[in-house]
């Protein structure tokens, strides 16, 4: 519904969508989550209107290139997507040389997602990015598609140890991306461990571990057997965890999981998130980001809010 005022102004044009986050101002609370759009080359940015988001999180980057998982890597599920990409990436040197300069030239606000198998690898990536003009590093501490000996994202002690190590090497604020696969009961423990370890912010949720079976072939669909579930189907789970995590820490929260509309963005903000991640939605609706921005303005205007920051945490009786 697009109501226009007598002078033709679109609804909500004067609503201020900017948010303060980690010492900078984002033009809106939408952050493009790491993964689906890789390193945000120009062709993808133009087709999916990604530059209209407040910030972009670049795909999980490791010290040296990772090949990723064997195919098939994708299967659609009811209102969702199961993926087992396996963090395929070309490594941090390639990122610095072939990717970040172009994003900087476009004036985009960039967060780099970091992956590793040991805390030392995470630190090496952080060190390598020390001279880069980026907003923050987001530590991917458990992707459901890569097996590690120590699951940093599932063990509060290990997580604090990781953060300690990485902070020694990083000049940028650290965001810890939490996994829902620890279960609702434990998410607050991991959030607190991130805060205690010196994280500047947390982001959640990463994907939910899932499986699909090919009945004709009598075996799993995905080459790596298990995958991570994203998309509208996961939203209620994500929202519950964001609510719980936001209540456990004072550091800002980036909430994500199944966000497809401006209304969804507002739900996450009202649950306590300061910014909201979007990953799968543009794959389904290439105009998702501008559509969300427009819908946020309309709803906030109807609610009588002048600034989006007014609604952060209101559902919990804060703000």
């Amino acid at each position: 519904m697009k109501a226009t005022k007598p002078d033709g102004e679109r609804t909500g044009q004067s609503v201020d969508l900017s948010v303060e986050f980690l010492g900078t101002t984002l033009k809106n609370p939408i952050v493009v989550a790491s993964g689906p759009f890789g390193y945000f080359p120009a062709e993808a940015r133009r087709l999916y209107r990604l530059g209209e988001a407040g910030a972009l999180v670049v795909k999980g980057t490791s010290v040296s290139p990772w090949p990723g998982n064997p195919p098939p890597r994708l299967i659609e599920t009811p209102a969702g997507l199961l993926n087992s990409i396996g963090l395929e990436n070309k490594g941090v040197e390639w990122l610095k040389r072939d990717c970040l300069p172009e994003l900087r030239a476009e004036g985009l606000k960039v967060i780099v997602n970091v992956v590793g198998t040991t805390s030392r690898e995470y630190r090496e990536v952080a060190e390598s990015l020390g001279d880069q003009d980026i907003l923050a590093l987001e530590l991917n501490v458990s992707c459901p598609n890569v097996e590690m000996d120590v699951e940093f994202g599932e063990d509060p002690v290990a997580l604090r140890g990781l953060l300690e190590e990485v902070r020694r090497g990083s000049r940028h604020p650290l965001i810890v991306k939490l996994t829902p696969n620890v279960g609702f009961r434990r998410i607050a423990d991991l959030a607190r461990a991130a805060e205690d370890g010196g994280a500047a912010a947390i982001s959640l949720i990463n994907t939910l571990k899932g499986l699909a079976i090919d009945v004709e072939k009598r075996r799993p669909v995905l080459g790596a057997v298990f995958g991570g579930l994203s998309g509208p189907a996961v939203k209620p789970v994500a929202l519950a965890m964001v609510w719980r995590a936001a209540g456990a820490v004072a550091i800002p929260v980036i909430g994500m999981g199944g966000v497809t509309s401006g209304r969804d963005v507002l739900e996450f903000l009202m649950a306590g998130a300061r910014a909201v991640g979007v990953g799968t939605a543009p794959l389904s609706n290439p105009s998702a980001i501008p559509d969300m921005v427009r819908e946020m303005r309309e709803i906030l205007d109807r609610l009588g809010a002048r600034r989006v920051e007014e609604v952060i945490g209101v559902a919990r009786g804060e703000g």
Partner: protein, 316 residues
């Protein structure tokens, strides 16, 4: 005809032709101002939310371009699930979201003067090969890189279909001078069998006669090196695997159009990859290539065409 984002169009059905056996050919409006598709490229299709609200199905689906004229593209599809069932229900004027053209297309320099071109189509694999043959014979794409088909270059399309009705998908190529040879599973048209049966027969014959016929057709001298065929294959994995094996046996180059489930369609999500052959990977080079952006057309010796069997847990 509305351009939404770069490469994304709100298209509409012009006609949606039922060819029988669950096969359809749909003509979709395509802006004349957009980049025209090349043979081997594909488009992503989805029903718009106004027609199909909700999150199910979530993703666009890829379809090879069957033909292109200024103002429209044609796509050839089989009803295999709820998306294609929905597509089959559309009529003239119904809106469709379209992204394209995408992918690399067939390389322009894949054959030389005197080469036989054998196009091996399994079912809906006829789509990219039809566009290739149409463009080649009409002189809009080159088998040689210099514009226009080489004089005397024989082109044969071998098509394997489930029944006679959809074999019509390639019929119009005859008028352009392509030899169209059909096999049907039910024997209702042409050979009763598969396209690989056809390829076996044709390859044997070609192996025997290539030297004589092609030489004189291409005006070659006795001392010139032997001519060869170039094979283009598209369709189910068994068809492209079979075509690759035949090509290897006769020493002919083979190009395949690969299918894979897709996410972003532009090479960034890495969801649609296939494995490169071990021997083609130098240290530091990627082990996987994306079907949407590095492909869908590959040289058969570039990619591993055997099926991947899921392993226990993730591998890195």
């Amino acid at each position: 005809m509305v351009t939404l984002n770069d490469g994304l169009f709100e298209s509409a059905v012009e006609r949606n032709e039922d060819l029988g056996g669950g096969h359809f050919k749909v003509r979709l409006r395509f802006p004349e101002t957009a980049v025209p598709p090349k043979p081997g490229q594909f488009v992503l299709l989805k029903m718009p939310p106004s027609r199909w609200p909700g999150a199910d199905p979530l993703l666009f689906r890829p379809f090879s371009v069957y033909s292109y004229r200024p103002g429209y593209v044609e796509v050839f599809y089989k009803v295999v699930g709820r998306f294609t069932r929905g597509l089959a229900s559309l009529g003239p004027g119904d809106p469709v979201l379209l992204v394209g053209p995408l992918g690399n297309g067939f390389p322009p320099d894949l054959s030389r003067s005197g080469d036989f071109l054998i196009l091996v189509a399994g079912g809906t694999g006829v789509a990219p090969l039809h566009f290739f043959a149409q463009s080649l014979m009409e002189g809009t794409v080159s088998g040689e890189g210099r514009g226009g088909r080489a004089v005397g270059q024989p082109v044969a399309l071998l098509g394997g279909f489930s029944s006679a009705g959809i074999a019509a998908a390639a019929g119009d190529l005859r008028q352009l001078g392509v030899s169209v040879i059909v096999a049907t599973e039910d024997g209702s048209l042409g050979l009763k069998g598969t396209v690989l049966d056809l390829l076996e027969e044709c390859a044997e014959e070609l192996g025997k006669t290539a030297n004589r016929a092609s030489r004189s057709a291409a005006g070659m001298e006795a001392g010139d090196p032997p001519v060869r065929a170039v094979v283009l294959a598209a369709g189910p994995p068994a068809v492209i695997r079979g075509a690759a094996r035949v090509g290897q046996r006769f020493g002919w180059p083979v190009y395949v159009s690969v299918e894979q489930r897709m996410g972003c369609g532009v090479g960034v999500c890495r969801g649609c990859v296939v494995r490169r052959r071990e021997e083609r990977c130098n240290p530091g080079e990627p082990r996987f290539v994306s079907v949407c952006s590095d492909g869908p057309v590959f040289s058969a010796d570039e990619v591993a065409l055997e099926e991947e069997i899921p392993g226990p847990g993730a591998r890195r």
